[in-house]
Symmetry: C2
Subunit: 336 residues, 2 copies
DNA sequence: TTGTACGCGTTATCAA
DNA sequence: TTGATAACGCGTACAA
């Protein structure tokens, strides 16, 4: 077919070194019982022949792979791509690789990719996608199967999942509090879609901040994280509350688009309306006005999630079922 | 260790169905010689037992996997994440999975992940990253190994690679021509980093557009695709050419940041300076002013690249060594 | 310290 | 139409 050279096997190395292939195996796996000279000679040959042990054959006999499944949804979502970057780095460090599960929005075809992943004998799964009700069933199937599973930002009420996430209550609290401290007026909010835990939590933080400062909460509109929805909900907020002073948008995209909507309606940000977003996407610094936002340690989320996943695969019980990392308020023009 | 249930094997199915496991294998692989009733019974049992053939064992005997390697660099780059989305969808459709290679910027650790990929016996590699000189060596190693390789947007002078890309000369031409037709004044340009083929090509298109309309080309500054560099080069352009009328930035990020720099220097876009970007990132519609840009069919690039890769794996010689898809000019406020 | 036999789950070959 | 057997590359148990 194609010009793929025949694979160099452990036997080739053994023959070339004049030992049994068992000895070569011992060298590869750092077993103690092998004479130093033999070891050196074998290592030399391995290098010369550019021999690489077959992960396939190894997996077959060991009955476990060093392959992890990565389930994601939307690679254009900044949060999750950053999680993936951190996760992949950690996996590589540990000698694992990630195979890409579905990157589609459509949750219905999950069985297909799950099947694909299971056929590939993955040792564990990282769920790097937000919670929606639809895939509870699939998650449950994974858990029941006994397959190690760690999620980042994915929560399920009735399942005892290991979750690595950002402290969204805290994040929502400080985003709102920052606005309230500038001026103790109701802070309107643009939320993400219903059913997301991060949405409920950021909302809870927003509520608590108002309670803490004794201010009545402002109006709430629900978006879907997109620019488009940020623009639309921004317009609706203005209609409902023409004297709007401050807005907390639960992600940067909606914040940026809402600012655009305010501008189109003749309002100035931050002079008339102050805005805080969430994420600290790269463009937050460069849009006009630059955007005050809550920065999240996303790569760190991916790193820790992968670390816990590998530990779980190795039979260790995770110490905590939930790891929450802190956000950081980045103040820029939009709230000044 | 952990509670992983023992895997259901072909033998379990065979025993349960009262046939030899060979017969089961025939059913799985749709071989003709099997009695209809036997087939049905086996299929029934397979479903009941939730049996899935082991891709591992299958790969071992077939000496080829249905695993592809994905080498990428920067998941926060819109172009490549979209390519990946298209690639993953196509792979899944064909029964292949992608394993994630390095997502790091650092080209030095490539051997490590390449080794990891090779150990996993990948059937082919998709390079979804831009050309830089540094990894020529690794690419060459892959090609010499006879491993099927398709790149998207990655070109190498001395290697006969199969490349799927966007027609950047054409894109650069029309971006520039659009500005020149608004007003026949020199168009300044903010390029990407030196050494990128896409940069050279967009630059060539820019040059040709000036030639076509008989206008002397404007000044050129080199950025690195980042917002930050767009801001800095924007400022520098203003210093060099205070009467600047039009700018073509080779990506949207730099365009958005340059607009910000112009604003900070007291210039209005598009009233004083018209700007065109490249990519059509989602925020292009929502920044102020909204951004005129060249849209690229990125998912399509990924889809076609994967399709060609799988064909190559199956021993088919690709018809074209280079597939170029067309860009589309999206006119918005920044050039009006 | 080194070598031999066996098995992991599957497909291909050949015989029945 | 079906079954028995070898083979893929490797690690483990045991023997030498």
């Amino acid at each position: 077919m194609n010009g793929l050279k025949r694979r160099v096997t452990i036997k080739d190395v053994a023959a070339s070194a004049g030992v049994s292939y068992q000895t070569v195996s011992r060298v590869i796996n750092d077993h103690p019982d092998v004479a130093p000279e033999t070891r050196e000679r074998v290592i030399e040959i391995i290098r010369n022949l550019d021999y690489r042990p077959s992960a396939i054959a190894r997996s077959l006999v060991l009955e476990r792979t060093r392959t992890l499944g990565l389930i994601t949804q939307d690679l254009s979502d900044y949060f999750f791509t950053q999680v993936i970057v951190g996760a992949e780095r950690e996996a590589r460090k540990q000698g694992y690789v990630f195979v890409l599960g579905s990157t589609e929005r459509n949750a219905q075809d999950e069985p297909a990719y799950l099947q694909l992943l299971l056929e590939h004998q993955i040792a564990g799964i990282l769920f790097a996608r937000p919670s929606t009700e639809r895939d509870q069933r699939h998650i449950k199937a994974i858990v029941e199967r006994g397959l190690p599973l760690v999620t980042s930002a994915y929560h399920a009420e009735d399942l005892d999942l290991t979750v690595v996430d950002v402290d969204n209550i805290d994040g929502g609290y400080w985003a709102t509090r920052h606005l309230l401290e500038k001026e103790p007026a109701p802070v309107a909010m643009i939320t993400g879609p219903a059913g997301w835990r991060s949405v409920n939590e950021r909302t809870e933080g927003w509520r608590r901040a108002h309670a803490a400062l004794g201010v009545k909460p402002g109006p709430v509109e629900q978006g879907d994280w997109s620019y488009e929805s940020g623009y639309q909900t921004g317009r609706r907020l203005l209609k409902r509350a023409p004297k709007l002073k401050a807005v907390f948008a639960q992600n940067d995209r909606m914040a940026i688009a809402a600012i655009r909507a305010f501008r189109d309606a003749g309002r100035q940000v931050p002079q008339n309306i102050r805005v805080v977003g969430y994420d600290d996407v790269p463009e937050a610094r460069y849009v006009h006005p630059s955007l005050t936002t809550m920065r999240q340690p996303m790569q760190e989320v991916g790193r820790i999630a992968t670390q816990i996943l590998v530990e779980t695969i190795n039979g260790k019980q995770p110490e905590h079922r939930e790891v929450l990392l802190k956000t950081e308020l980045i103040v820029r023009e939009s709230s000044s």
